[in-house]
Each structure stands twice: as structure tokens, then as C-alpha cells.
Symmetry: none
Subunit: 216 residues, 4 copies
DNA sequence: CATGAATGAGGATTCATTCAT
DNA sequence: CATGAATGAATCCTCATTCAT
């Protein structure tokens, strides 16, 4: 197993923005402000006034872009989940044929996303509960879709004997838990680089699954 | 390694209450109501009015017991953290001499706590940010004290060659992450018993650390 | 006219306390705490809790001594007004026969009271408005009784030609105003001694009345 | 000296409003309501709810105009102090060259202001204590600026021998006290007209200063 | 006398949202 | 698109007061 296998190694500045500058007028500024404030203070701790101020626009103008506070949150979570799923699937498809290799790639992509979009992941972890109805359904569905990628990989690996853990059914959840939690403590300027995170967690994941690393 | 080693296997009803009924008058009812509501809706989503109503007392009477909303949260977190640390250290001290055995016991105790005091763990995971100053310091300190138990065990195991992971320095955090996250999805009536959770996560943890289980 | 005529020149420590230590148990402590807090923050700015705390007793115990917050204020004002009237009358009666002399004595006694019981005077000036009904009536009556002493003296002096001001009818009010206001700025440790205050204001008063100072 | 010298003798209805109707929307109504209620019940006795009701708007709308209760008070006091200083200085500059004449004019202007803006003066007298920090500093500074006008006049008169009181240093304060206090009892419909008040107090002030009225 | 618990009303302030411009 | 004014409900917390002990 190659611990230093390449990660999507964009320069930090080149990480594509979750939000972009498409949208009309202030849309991007609003989304970015909301993202930051929701992450800093939680959904209920960040008021529409706060967001408007941080976005440099007026309170009432927010409602020209998003019909409600919850819709604003949903929008953020949808974008984040969509990008996450896309990056993970892409990584899996790009990886070689071996399940272990694919799972490693998936973990690396996931960790990479957490590091790149830390605030988005913070929100995704704890603010979904503030959504209801259709908005919630949609967000949860996308989140589950991503989890299924991991579950399928683990199941395939278990079936083919590559992963020998006696508990394959729940392992994916544990792997995602430890990868997601990175968002709560990671500091880009700290001891660990993004590359380190990817290497570590790829290894943790395969070890947890009791993968048969050697050539059998 | 015996995966079905006994867990503190109290009947759910016999799990000692985090709060007890000591305290004066309505104190226990208030703490219990706050615990539940903070977990359900988050700190900012649960109002003092809500808590009072759920506790069956008047809003103003809350302030005869806790001088502020934040203090009420701090009280809960302190009790939870103290109990968690106590149960984990106790498990470690009771376990045999092997580091692997001790770590397994620690994980089981931790998972057991998460299952027993699910709501408390939910709060501990995400509501600390609403504390400031002394209250925050105290809670964070107790939380770190618990994490150190795991870090010390991992370090010891790595030093003695029992854990062969190339990344021992950050493994404890990952283990705790996957155990803590149980609180976000566990249903006592679901497919997995508390015993199952303990078995699984003890195994996951040792595997993640690449523990040399047998004498080989 | 002797500007340095003696004032009731008690040592500051010997100024008889407005409250004394008679009363049962905590009564004096409560009155003293209320006096200070009402003066510092105003009637509405000082809560019964504050007063209890400052008096070193429990909130509910306050109501064993005074049936309401307003009654507590009334009690203070009554004591202050009674003492003030007593000291002023006494000074007048002790003074010689001349109206000018008597008015001078009255002013000195009044100023002396303001200096000695500064906080009480602060309250008397601005907190009467918070009383209603019987309580208010009583306090206002006592206050007016005191004012009448001055009005009578001025009227007598005007009738006898000692005070030549063309506006004797309203002069007493002006004199009392300037003397009372001392309470808002006087600092016992400042430039002016109590003796200075008495001398000054006695002179101001006679001058304002256009008293014929010379031997006629 | 002409005791019946003309006062700015506008009909009461023509007295320029302290507040005006400039400001946006409800600003004037809010300020006027606050002015009245603060004067009637004191700062702490008048709630924002009361003020909103009296201003004919909603409670929350108050905060679109003034960010806090204290700021609302400060606004009132600043306007009142500014106008007072302006009217007094203007009167002094318009008066003749003699110090006595100028002081008379100042007193008349001051008394006139007290009569015209009675409620504002009531607040200025006793509610400054509820301000803190910058707000307080600003208000106190303006108040002191006005007091200095009087102190300078008295000092000048004392220096030139026009005022022969032995206590010129503190006389201004006494004069202002007796003039300000008018606000606490004056009734426009009562025995005394505004003109009367001006005449009386101008005479009181000069007498208090022991002014040498004639050429002797 | 003395206390702690209890309460309903009300304190200042902020909330998400709407609407006329 | 963009704004400022407006609002009713809700925020945390404190109020004066009562009551059982």
C-alpha cells in the first residue's frame, strides 16, 4: 500500500469555491457569509441580520435571494453534499480496479473535501436538524447517497474477502465518522498537512476494515 | 482477544441516572428537561421557556436554580464529562495488564456511556461552543482529560510495539470520533444492542491501531 | 453679620445617624442599604434583591420589616424630613430675635443637614414621585412644613422691612433650591468644608433677600 | 436696571419645539414620547413599551431609530443641552457691555428655557446618572460648558468689582440651582408668568452676587 | 425572624419576516 | 435588485411579591 499516493493536490488557493461567483448580484456574498456564520455560531446563533451585515447588504435584500432562513441553509447543504458526492465518486471511478484501492481513494477524497470545505462540513454535521419537510428530505437523501458509496465499497470488499472485519455492515459509518470529525479540529496551519490527513485516514480505514494488504 | 467479553451489562432501566434526584426541589426535573431539549433542538433552539415548561415549573423559577442558560448547560456538561471520565478510568483500572486489553476496556466503557447517556453525548459533541470563559475552560479541560486517557494508552501500546500503526499520534482522536458519533444515530430498539456496539467498536479500535493480537 | 458664626459643629463621626440601631434585628441594616442604593441608582434602579443583598439578609426577610418597596422609601423620607424639620426649627428657636439672624440660622441648619445626610437629601429631591396615596401625602406634607418655616421667616422679614427684595413671596423656594442642590455635588473631602457651605449659603440667602445688613 | 426688560416673549405655542419634525418617520414622535415619560416617571420608570405606545408605534420599531434606551435618553439630553447653551450664549452676546447686564440676560435666557422646555430640564436634572461611557461624557461636557458661561460672567464681575459677594467662586452653581429647580414646580397656568420668573430670578441672581447696581 | 422556592408580569432587546417604495 | 420602516412573537432575564416552613 502506498501511503504517499497522490491526493487531489491543488494549491489551497486553487481549491474551487463551494459557491463560486455565478449567481446574481449578492448571492455569492450571502451564501459565503451564511456559511461562515452558521459554522461559527450554529444555525440559531446566526441571525439574518448578522448574515446581511457580513454579506455587506441589507437585511431585506436577503429575501430577494432566499425566501427563508431555512432555505438558505438548505441551499448551502445541497451544494456541499453535491460537491462531496461528486468528488468521492469521481475518485472512486478514477481509482484502479481493486476495492481496497477504491476505498482508499474514496477516503482520500472525503478527507480532502473536509479539509477544503471545513466550514461546510461543520454545518453538514450538526445543522441538518433545523430543516424540515422537503428541504430536510433532500439534504438527507444526498448525504445518504454519499454514505452508500462507502457502504457499497465495504460490502464488496467484505464479499470478496479483501476486508476481513467481522463487522462490515457498520464499518462504513465509523470510517465516515472519523473522517468527518476532522472538521471540528483541523487547522490548515497546524502540524498536519492535508496530505497527512489523507494518508492517515486512508490507512486507518483499511486497517479498521482489517484489509488484507499483502498480495494475499 | 475475546470479542464478547462482558460489558457493564445493566438493564437499561438500571443505568444510573446522570442527574439523580438529589438536588433541591425541581433541580433534577430542570436538568433532565434541559438535557433533552438541548439535545433535540440545540442550545439556541431550546428556550428557557421551553425548558421550564418541560420541567413542569415556571420560567422565573428556573433562575432560582441556575443563574443563566449557559450555566445550566455547563452543569450538564460537567456532570456528563465527570461520569464519562470516571467510567472510562475505572474500566481501565479494572482491566488486565495488557495495553490492548486496557484499550479495549476503555473503548467499551466509552461506547457504553454513549449508549446509556446518548443525549448527554449529543450535547457534549456540539454545544460546548456556546460556553465562554470559566465555564468553557472547565468543560473543555474535563473533556481533554478523558481524551488523554486514550492518547496515553495508544502511546504506551505504540511504544511497546503492541500497536503497529504508523500514525499513533492521532489515532486516539479518530477512535473517539467514531465512538462518540454513535450518539447521533443509535436507537436502543434498533438492530444493534449495546453489547454489539461495544464489541464492534472495541474491535474497530484495535484493528485501526493495527494491534498485534496474538503472540506472533 | 458674622460669617463664621458657629455651626452645629459635630465631628463627622458624631453626626447622629439618620437611622440609628434601634429597630428590631435587621431593620437598621435594611434602611441603610435602601438609603444608599436609592440614592445611587434611584428608586426604580434599586431592586429589593439588591437591597437585601446589601443589607446582608434574605430577600423575603425584607418583607418582615417593610410591607412593600414604596413603604420602605416612605419610611426613609419620613425620617429624613422629620429630622430636617426638627433641626431647622430648633436652630430658629435657638437663634436670637432678629429675623435675619433666624433665617441665617435656618439656612445653616438646612445646609448642615444636607451635608450630613447627603444621600437622604438626594432621595428626597427626586424619589418622592414614586410614592402614591397616603404615603405620598404624608411625605409631601412634612416637606411643605419645612418649607413653610422658611416662607414664614421671609414673610416676616419682608413685613418688618429687614428683607427688601421685591419678590419675597417666592424667595424661600429659591433659597431652598440652592441649598438642597448641594447634595448633588458635595464631596466631604473636597475644597469646601461643611462650615464653608454654611457660611456661603447663609450669606447668599440674606443677599438674595436684599437684607439690610447694616445697622439700619 | 430694568426689571421688566423684554424676554424672548414668544407665545407659548410659538416656542420652537426641542425636537421638530425633521427626522425620518416616527423619530419625532418617539423622542417626544420619551421626553414626556422620562420626565413623568424617570428613566427606569418609563419602559420602552410605554414609550412605543405613547409614540403610536410598535415596540420593536423603536430600535430602528435608537439602538438602546440609554441612547434615546442621550439623544434627548444632547438636544436640550445644545439648545440651552445656544440660547444662553446668544442672550449674553446680544446683551450690552456691562457684566451685570450680561448676567441678567443669561439668567433670563436660562429661566426662559426652563419654562419653555420644562420636561427636558427635569430629565437633565436627574437622569444623567443612567448614562455611561461616551454617552455620559458627552452630555456632562455640554452641561459643564453651559455652567462655565455663568462662572465666567461671575468671575469677570467679581474681578471688576461689580459683584461684591465674598464667595464668587461658588455663586454660579447656586444661581443655576435655583433657576433649574423651577422645572420641578412651574405651572404655565399658575400665578407666575414666564416673564415673572425671568424678572424674579434675574433680580435674585444679581442680589445674591451683591451686585453694585447703581453707579455708587 | 428568617429562609428558599415559587410565580406572573414585565424589563430591554432581537427574531424572522413583510411591505411600500 | 435594493432599501428602510414596520411588526408580533419570542429571546434571556429580573421584577416585586407571596407562601410554606
Amino acid at each position: 500500500m502506498n501511503d504517499r499516493s497522490p491526493v487531489p493536490d491543488l494549491m489551497p488557493d486553487l481549491v474551487p469555491d463551494l459557491i463560486g461567483d455565478s449567481g446574481r448580484g449578492n448571492e455569492a456574498a450571502i451564501l459565503r457569509a451564511a456559511l461562515r456564520l452558521y459554522a461559527e455560531r450554529g444555525f440559531n446563533g446566526a441571525s439574518m441580520r448578522d448574515i446581511a451585515r457580513a454579506a455587506g447588504t441589507s437585511l431585506s435584500n436577503l429575501y430577494n435571494y432566499f425566501p427563508s432562513k431555512a432555505r438558505l441553509l438548505a441551499e448551502l447543504l445541497n451544494r456541499a453534499n453535491a460537491l462531496l458526492s461528486a468528488q468521492v465518486s469521481s475518485a472512486v471511478h478514477t481509482a484502479g480496479e481493486g476495492v481496497a484501492e477504491q476505498l482508499g481513494a474514496a477516503v482520500r477524497a472525503y478527507v480532502s473535501f473536509v479539509a477544503d470545505y471545513q466550514t461546510a462540513m461543520l454545518i453538514a454535521l450538526s445543522e441538518v436538524r433545523h430543516l424540515e419537510g422537503e428541504e430536510r428530505t433532500q439534504v438527507v437523501a444526498e448525504r445518504d447517497r454519499n454514505q452508500e458509496i462507502f457502504e457499497d465499497l465495504v460490502a464488496a470488499g467484505a464479499a470478496s474477502g479483501v476486508f476481513t472485519t467481522p463487522y462490515p455492515q457498520d464499518a462504513a459509518r465509523s470510517i465516515l465518522a472519523m473522517c468527518s470529525t476532522i472538521a471540528t479540529w483541523y487547522h490548515p496551519e497546524g502540524r498536519l498537512t492535508k496530505q497527512d490527513l489523507c494518508d492517515q485516514h486512508a490507512r486507518y480505514a483499511l486497517a479498521l476494515l482489517e484489509g488484507r494488504v499483502d498480495g494475499r
